[in-house]
Amino acid sequence: MTIKTRESVMEISKTTRKASPFFTVILGLLLVYGLSHFVPATTSNSWTSFVSGPQLAFADEDDEFEDEEFEDEDEEEEGDEGSSEEESASTEGEAGAEGEAAEEEEDLSYLTDIGPAKDHKYEEFTFPWIGNRKGVWLAAQFHILFASFILGCPMFVVIMEVMGARRTQGVRKAIILSNVFLGVLIGVTIGIIGEIIVGVHHGVLYGMWACAFGALAVSFMNYFHKCMEMRSSILVGGVFGAFMAIILTPGGGEHVNWSGYITAVVNGMVGGMLSNMIMFAKADFKFERLAHEITKVIGICYSFTALTGGLFILVMVVAYKDFISYLLQSFPILFMIAYPTLFILETVVMYIYVYSWDPLNKSNKKGRHIVFGVILNVLGLSLLCALDGPATFMQTPPTPLGELTNISEWDRIATATWMPLNYHRLVGNGTFGGYCVGIIAAYMYLWSNTKEEKEYYDWVGYMGNVIGVGIMIPLPAMGYIFVREIYQYDATIGMYIMSDRESMFMLVQGLLVGTMFTASNIYMWVSMKRIEGAQRFFPFMKIGFVLIILAATIWFTPRRFFATMMPEPGMNEAMVLPDNLAFLALMVSKNTAAFALVTITLINYIFYTIATKTGKIHWGKINPLGIYVLIFMGFADIWLLSWMGTIRELSRMNWHVYKVFKDVTPDKFTPALADAGLFVTEIVWGFFIIMTGIIWLGIKYPKMKKTKAEAPAEATPSVAE
């Protein structure tokens, strides 16, 4: 530090000497003073060390300085010992010793004494009726449900807004950005599936870069009315996207990663195709209205997210104060700087997005509004990824565990399961958003009195189902990579989930997924009854239903019908599949069943799409059963999301942070299946009651007010023309 200061002074001195030696000296002194007072100390605890990294340039100087300081201290200590041992010390020595002893005896406790509160010992608080764990569980679950809503819905709200916007120049500019955003999401999803099914090395990176750059290139050219044909867009997307992906993705060593290149080409083509479709799609106001109405609900849900988030922290502070303190201290920059910053930014952008909708529409600046939407999503996803850090830290803390306090905060965030959980939540929130749109559509359909409104909300329900089911299709793949990483980190956690106390929890998950796919296909069936000529597909769809039931049966079939790895007292140990039939319970069978479920749903969806293109759709004439199926699917999806969160949290067993921070509270055990099932149902009921109120307040109530306001005007006699 000193050397730098001297060098700086010399540099400045050289330049200023020519002007005036007097000013040079004054300036030099001021700089020496200033630099020595304003350059922050480079200690390991300083936040600047996190930002700027280790300052090697001054290491020698600092070390010397520190060594000198320590040497002095050592000498003083030796001196103390010497003075106490040797009675015949010199007068000067005695005086020095007395002075130091006086210093030692000086009572400095007033600096640290907090007052009478130090003696106050309150009884530990336990939540009435439900206990501490369930108190936290309730608050956390509510928070994550609302958070999923406000993260999931904006993703496709922006796409819907784009689909509904008139293609002005500004909108087309904004579409370039939104296409790239969509390209990232789709590229990541396809890339992961490639990694899992075909084993593509760096599939995610190839997919993401190729799809994003394919979308960017095509959108950019489309903006200038180039490359307008679909085929040429696909070609340009494929070539440019693949080229950029190959450049940006780290190489796999000596081997040429052909599967990666193919993934890149496919993703680039997908990016190009989607960009072209979106850029030249005919604006349909229905999409604009859908996006706007959902946004109104998002606004209210955002407040509930903040409210429940605060509640969650308060509950944690009361119920698990030691642990929450440890967790916050493990991520000081994240919790003190990054998270609040992101949260505030997101809040600001969200309110701008919600409240600038009409003004920007009226001033013909739709493009800017779309850009706000994309920024909102980027901020939301950043928040999601940021908080997944501590969540995965609790489950898979970086090893070796003894080094946890010595590694950087970033290393504590980027755990083995961080990215898999990010992917899983990204897709899971998208699905959640889709089904929530279905619920909103269903409610509004039921609350609508006019034919036009019913037609519109019937269509919204159709869109919600398409989005929910469409995004749910890659969801099992995301879950798979998450659990695979858990197994690789510590198979004990994986076994606890798949084969031990959580095995029946996972069985319930299988049943729920089967139920949702079945319900989704029933919805398509019911919907097709209102499309002319769609009945020609019904015989094939019935075969599909048989296969769905078969696939669900296989997915459900367990290796054993007792709830733990080894039978415990009171369990029937004979309830195990014989070896020759055990293949039904293996992952190969489960994956086949999942693949069958997804494929049949996809085929039925293709039938549905063909029917909508070839036959007349009687919107608003859907069998009301379809509306209740939509609500049921939403209920099942939210229940499933809550259930999977429960499984993930309980998989840490009796640890808050696995093998680092033990849970020693009375609630350290895994609750029984029935107990957990009932509690999750109660939480979902609570969420639905609040959501019903929010939907009414956000969409229905303003409509009623508007209708009431318009009613007298209509009633007044009009002037004869």
Partner: protein
């Protein structure tokens, strides 16, 4: 499309379901599915029936009053809630108290513990580390991801070998588990997770995994084989038989039984003739069948306990039984050469809990700890 009335809807579906459910029940039972799986399959058939009834239900009447949709909406939530609560209620449950009791137990310390207590502690270590997830121990456990440590008789191997295999599972891959998935299946962190005491206890427990009635079994279900048909084992057995195995210095079967199977000593069993009979020098312990039909248990007994008043000593009291089984497997080839065999010897059924109890009560093991 003409809609069906409810009666028309179920008129054919119900009988079809009844027939289908009966067939499923019978076929599942014949195929060996336990009763719970039979119930599961029939339940799913019932789900299928409900789904198909829903598909053909006449359209619901549109809601006219607020009460209509409120009732239906609450009904939908009720269906979902009842369904999910019932599922979580009806599936097998565990008693959380069992886990609480386990968590409240003090950690295992083997200092001061004696033989059976160390073995019991090892069993706890085995369970707590979820070894049962991949390894069966005879009849216990429910997965074939890794070898059945009981039928493989891991207890025949030395303590050092077992310990090394736990700490470095890639050290020697069990025969039949050479596929890439199996090769990386066993975690490599037990060296960090288990302290010395736990490891010692675990090895002590694994050392008890022996079967005095059957020769060790190798391979992954259903491609399994016994040591009788294992070429590698037979080669190793030949080394032991001919007295060339350093670990069994002093044991040389060929001295009496002949290197090429021609007995070198009067009275020694001629392994070349599969029709030869068991010794009648042990009162009350004689097997009537010919040598070629000897059960594994008899081979093991004769070699480990010997024949009194003959040079056939109780080798089991002197040498590791691992090598004795290998020598027996080789001895059999004199009257049943490997290259002439048209089929492998059947893999014996996995010993049951009762059989294992019998081994102990009848004293089939030489070691009192087993």
């Amino acid at each position: 499309m003409k809609e069906k009335t409810f009666v028309q809807n179920i008129k054919f579906k119900l009988p079809i379901f009844a027939v289908l459910a009966t067939c499923i029940w019978i076929f599942a039972g014949k195929a060996g599915f336990p009763i719970w799986w039979q119930i599961e399959f029939v339940s799913f058939a019932l789900v299928g029936l409900i789904v198909f009834i829903i598909l053909d239900l006449p359209a619901l009447a549109p809601e006219k009053k607020n009460r209509d949709w409120v009732v239906r909406l609450l009904g939908t939530y009720a269906v979902g809630s009842v369904l999910f609560i019932s599922i979580t209620n009806q599936l097998p449950q565990f008693d959380p108290q069992v886990e609480i009791d386990k968590l409240n137990k003090p950690p295992i310390k083997i200092e001061g513990l004696a033989g059976p207590e160390v073995i019991a502690a090892g069993r706890v270590v085995f369970e707590e580390n979820k070894c049962f997830n991949c390894h069966k121990v005879f009849w216990e456990g429910n997965s074939d991801r890794g070898p059945n440590l009981g039928t493989k008789q891991i207890g025949l191997y030395s303590e050092d070998y077992i310990k090394k295999q736990i700490l470095d599972p890639r050290y020697k891959q069990s025969p039949g588990y050479e596929d890439p998935k199996s090769k990386k299946a066993m975690p490599t962190y037990y060296g960090e997770d288990l302290d010395e005491g736990q490891l010692t206890a675990l090895v002590a427990y694994l050392k008890t995994m022996r079967d005095p009635t059957n020769i060790p079994v190798e391979g992954k279900y259903p491609d399994q084989w016994t040591w009788w048909d294992d070429e590698t084992i037979l080669k190793e057995g030949e080394v032991v038989f001919n007295g060339l195995e350093p670990a069994t210095e002093g044991l040389n079967c060929s001295v009496c039984h002949g290197k090429d199977g021609i007995p070198m000593m009067t009275g020694a069993l001629d392994f070349r003739n599969g029709e030869n009979k068991d010794t009648d020098k042990i009162p009350g312990d004689h097997y009537e069948g010919p040598l070629k039909d000897w059960p594994d248990e008899l081979w093991y007994k004769r070699v480990t306990r010997g024949v009194p008043e003959t040079p056939m000593a109780p080798w089991g009291t002197i040498f590791p039984h691992l090598y004795l089984w290998k020598a027996e497997a080789y001895a059999r080839t004199f009257h049943d050469p490997l290259d002439k065999r048209t089929e492998k010897r059947p893999v014996p059924p996995v010993p049951t809990k009762e059989e294992i109890e019998r081994w102990k009560t009848e004293g089939l093991f030489l070691d009192p700890l087993l």
